[in-house]
């Protein structure tokens, strides 16, 4: 086992520190709202500090290797251990989850959605943080499963308690879809465990042994995992929970869902399904790619048909995750790098879009696109931030979105050996058409909302002046880091590619990539 650093406490602390915050908050009376929020934000910042310490100590020259590895007995009867580590693929997502949690919490300072109760709201966000961070560092399938499931209940409550009108339906749908996926995933994990000699659930061990499983069995096991991860991504046709969940979730829930939770699925493909079952991955790749491009086109067309801004952004997530999955399905280092970059970029940009949508809703009390117009006149800063995010989302060169989308399309030109070039080139063309749609729906959205004169009902002197104000202090604090990151990664993508690339190379060892 490659123990490079002896700071291996850092990951454990970084993952479980939020739970300590929850414990402290349990003892604070519900009425002390300011204190509760402060403790929660302090915990999230402390967690982020541990994350940044991890990044500083991370050996970037050796990003392909697992670092900060810790391994202890956990459930020895079933040969599962507490085995964690971080490499170039995990690190950006691990940090992303921490950054997003801090920013969402700062945003929540004066945006606790109805029916209030910040104690519960902030506690759930901290629990979510533990689940998200844990999933990205787990090196043992059972540990991965536990963390993967840990995010379910907090998100269920966030949507169901603090969500919109149709929240109960949306939260249940979210929960049942994900749970169904995880049940199949668990059976697949178990089958994998027994087919590799019932010796260990450790991912590196399974990567070594997985190649020995017969092709048919691999394909079946992959199918189980596929459903589990594809529901989470979500891939067409398992995506139907997403628009409902996003539309009904409170802003904070939508941001976390878009920025991090969806990545748990794609991460599962990259970290577990593909390296452990390379032959099945090759067999499945054309179908995954096919569903991915269907998702791109379907998501884009869905966007064009939406009348609700949040629902539109939700459908755009389906399309964007389609690009990510297309990159993954090429099984090339190029495509995988693009996909990983796309995951982070989508997290930043779509997270930002949901923030803006939340603020729009707060001001106009509606997200119906045709009722809102002239935002640039009424709230120029918010309007331009929306414009900026729309540009980033449609993949404008120079902003982060571009580096996820463009190379993903390009990678389909030359998929991994053994995959049909013609099929993937067709996908490439379809995906490229998808970008045109993306430009269409995002620019159209921006045009309808931001341009023109303010709608009569929201014009000055119609009783909304109190609510309609430009970006406030907490919003600036929460958004600035995301906006900066979108530009920085757009201008200098190498910053992330150099971390990703070595780790991607290790992941794709079986494909000669």
């Amino acid at each position: 086992m490659e123990v490079i650093s002896n700071h291996n406490w850092a990951l454990t602390v970084g993952t479980f520190l939020p739970l300590v915050g929850v414990l402290i908050m349990l003892f604070i009376p519900k009425a002390e709202e300011a204190l509760i929020k402060s403790v929660a934000i302090a915990t999230a910042i402390a967690t982020l500090a541990v994350g940044i310490y991890t990044m500083v100590q991370f050996d970037f020259g050796n990003a392909g290797a697992m670092q900060f590895v810790a391994k202890h007995d956990w459930i020895s009867v079933i040969k599962s251990s507490y085995y964690i580590g971080i490499d170039g693929i995990s690190l950006p997502l691990y940090l992303l989850s921490m950054v997003i949690t801090v920013l969402v919490m700062i945003y929540s300072w004066d945006h606790v959605p109805s029916p209030g109760n910040p104690k519960a709201f902030f506690s759930l966000m901290l629990i979510l943080q533990t689940g998200m961070a844990g999933t990205f560092i787990a090196r043992d399938l059972i540990l991965f499963f536990v963390f993967f499931e840990l995010v379910l209940l907090p998100m269920y409550f966030m949507i169901g308690v603090w969500g919109g009108e149709n929240r109960q339906y949306a939260s249940l749908k979210f929960f049942l879809y994900t749970m169904f996926g995880s049940a199949l995933m668990l059976v697949a994990f178990l089958a994998l465990f027994f087919k590799t000699g019932a010796e260990s659930f450790s991912i590196p061990f399974l990567i070594e042994q997985g190649v020995n499983i017969s092709r048919t069995t691999q394909i079946w096991i992959f199918a189980g995992m596929f459903v589990g991860f594809a529901v989470k991504v979500p891939m067409f046709p398992f995506h139907t929970w997403l628009p409902d969940a996003h539309t009904q979730a409170p802003t904070q829930g939508s941001v976390i869902l878009a920025a991090v939770l969806l990545k748990l699925g794609t991460y599962g493909f990259v970290r577990i399904a593909i390296p452990v079952l390379p032959e099945a991955a090759r067999a499945w790749a054309p179908y995954i790619g096919g569903l991915a491009v269907i998702g791109i086109i379907y998501g884009s067309l869905g966007c064009l048909a939406q009348t609700d801004m949040k629902r539109l952004i939700a459908f755009s997530s389906v399309a964007h995750m389609g690009f990510v999955m297309l990159g993954i399905s090429t099984l090339t280092s190029f495509g995988m790098n693009a996909a990983m970059f796309g995951m982070v970029a989508h997290g930043l940009i779509t997270g930002m879009l949901f923030f803006v949508a939340g603020s729009v809703k707060e001001r106009y009390h509606t997200l119906e696109i045709k009722r809102i117009s002239g935002m640039l006149l009424q709230m120029p800063k918010l309007g331009w931030i929306l414009g900026f995010c729309a540009m980033a989302s449609l993949g404008l060169p120079g902003l982060a979105g571009f580096w996820g989308e463009f190379p993903a399309i390009l990678s389909a030109y030359q998929p991994a050996p053994g995959l049909s070039v013609n099929v993937f080139r067709t996908y490439m063309v379809i995906a490229a058409i998808g970008t045109v749609f993306a430009a269409a729906y995002l620019l159209w959205l921006f045009q309808r909302i931001a341009f023109g004169e303010p709608a009569a009902e929201f014009a000055a002197g119609h009783g909304h002046d109190e609510d309609i104000h430009d970006v406030n202090k907490f919003e600036w604090i929460a958004w600035t880091p995301l906006l900066i990151a979108i530009v920085v990664f757009g201008v200098y993508p190498q910053l992330m590619f150099k971390v990703l690339d070595p780790a991607v190379g290790v992941t794709l060892k079986a494909f000669g990539g």
Binding site: I75, A120, E149, L153, F175, F194
Partner: protein, 502 residues
């Protein structure tokens, strides 16, 4: 026959007093309860409650010392009464579950003026039957233990004499229970006729894997007899009415301890007595398991009364516990199947007792047994609602709460069998665990997302004994989920599974 008995020299069996200590302490406690009840004035009858709880805790001490003692398996009476790891784990579980039930029942019984002395006497007798069941390896002692644990339970179910529902509960439970005993006895008599022995190991050796129709019938009848006890579909019809009519602490007792005792008996008989006959019982368990979890879940979905929903939930959980038994006869699966059953029973006991503790706390305030009475609980009693959330999530099998590991262990032994039937059952189980969230989630939805039905948001009083019960069960549920290894160390129960090797 008689002459041989008369002429045979009588030698008294050696008795291992350490091994029998739990039973003896229980017996002393039971006698003490009866005596005290005679002499205590009504105003001081509450003293019986601590006597009952200390008896249970006292009996737990020798279970611990026996578990820590490395002497290995202890056998008595020619191997018909065995104290091995399996029996110790189950005895410990029965005693602790009994203790939690005493905590649940303490105030209920005192306030209702429900013949305290007799109640504790019957409850401890029933627990005594369970403790004996865990060690019985002989048809006669199994049958005696089963009646010992059942007959007091029939009476406990009908404890609220003036309530017709409680009477219905008792009568239904009694009639179906006796019917089941009769079927089982018939199976046992066939077994004795075939093998000329009542000792399970001898029956196992004699039956072998030779399955003439009469042998298959005997095995089938015995298994079906126990299926009533564990309320497996289609022998479950008594459970909802009994659970609903019985006093709530008794329902908790029946759904956890009594059900576990049924499983213990079933596992013992199948593992020690019928290891070679798996061609008969595996398909039976497969069908029972699939039908039980599916029907239990579907019926639970439509319930509006919390206790009735929990009754069907308990039926469905029984189906999950049966899952590994449907493959236990495959090579190399016996041990993991046994571990899965034991693990699941322990996790389920901790969680379900917690659920009933919450139900009692909430019912004290709302005076209602409807699920809708949980509306808005989180807004005025966040602590209770959070505990209920933990218990519901555990029953639904969501990590990191105990239940997930029980389900995991069951799935693990299914997949390890690797047969097509095993995979099909695993898929059915997987789908069912999603369906189950439909009703567990409905409780969560009421508590977190619905308004308070009558606008009464006064705080919920929690009696100290219920608070202790909640503390024990929630801690156990969490601990079993996060560090199952700690507890499952007891589950390295090779002893019983070894029967397959012989």
């Amino acid at each position: 026959m008689l002459s041989t008995i008369a002429t045979a020299a009588w030698s008294s069996p050696t008795i291992d007093y350490h091994a029998l200590a739990p039973e003896m302490i229980l017996g002393l406690g039971i006698v003490l309860l009866l005596l005290l009840d005679l002499f205590l004035s009504d105003a001081r009858k509450w003293l019986l409650t601590p006597v009952a709880s200390f008896t249970l805790l006292g009996a737990f001490i020798p279970v611990l010392t026996l578990a820590l003692n490395d002497a290995g398996t202890r056998q008595m009476f020619d191997g018909r009464y065995v104290i091995d790891d399996f029996s110790l784990v189950m005895k410990g579980m029965f005693l602790l579950a009994g203790y939690v039930v005493v905590l649940l029942a303490a105030d209920y019984i005192r306030e209702g003026d429900y013949y305290q002395g007799e109640f504790w006497f019957l409850m401890l007798s029933s627990i005594m039957g369970m403790v004996m069941m865990a060690s019985s390896r002989d048809l006669i002692s199994i049958f005696v233990s089963l009646e010992f644990l059942s007959i007091p339970a029939y009476m406990l179910a009908a404890w609220r004499k003036r309530d017709s529902r409680s009477n219905e509960a008792g009568i239904k439970y009694y009639l179906l229970g006796v019917f089941a005993s009769a079927i089982m006895l018939y199976g046992m008599s066939l077994l004795y006729g075939i093998t000329n022995s009542t000792k399970l190991t001898e029956i196992g050796a004699s039956l072998g894997s030779n399955l003439s129709s009469i042998r298959a019938l005997a095995v089938f009848f015995v298994v079906i007899g126990f299926a009533f006890k564990i309320s497996a579909v289609p022998f479950h019809t008594w459970a909802p009415d009994t659970y609903q009519g019985a006093p709530t602490p008794v329902t908790a007792f029946l759904s956890v301890a009594s059900k576990a005792a049924g499983f213990v008996a079933l596992v013992t008989v199948v593992y020690v007595g019928f290891p070679g006959s798996h061609a008969v019982w595996q398909p039976v368990f497969w069908i029972l398991s699939a039908a039980t979890m599916t029907l239990g879940n579907v019926m639970a979905l439509k319930q509006t009364s919390i206790v009735r929903m929990l009754a069907y939930s308990s039926i469905a959980q029984g189906g999950f516990i049966l899952m590994p038994l449907a493959v236990a006869g495959e090579t190399g699966v016996a041990e993991s199947a046994l571990r899965a059953v034991v693990t699941y029973l322990i996790v389920y006991a901790a969680t379900n007792l917690g659920v009933f503790a919450v139900v009692m706390v909430v019912a004290r305030k709302t005076r209602s047994g409807e699920i809708s009475s949980y509306g808005g609980l989180f807004s005025y009693a966040p602590g209770i609602a959070t505990l209920m959330t933990i218990f519901m999530a555990s029953l639904a099998g969501i990590p990191p709460f105990g239940g997930w590991f029980g389900k995991f262990a069951a799935f693990q032994s299914l997949v390890s069998a690797g047969t097509t039937w095993a995979y099909v059952l695993a898929i059915i189980g997987g789908v069912n665990s999603v369906v189950a969230f439909g009703y567990y989630g409905s409780i969560l939805r009421e508590m977190w997302m619905r308004p308070v039905p009558d606008g009464d948001t006064s705080p919920v009083p929690v009696k100290s004994s219920l608070a202790v019960a909640l503390g024990i069960t929630s801690l156990a549920t969490l601990l079993l989920g996060v560090l199952p290894g700690l507890v499952i160390h007891f589950g390295d129960i090779a002893g019983l599974a070894g029967a397959f090797g012989r």
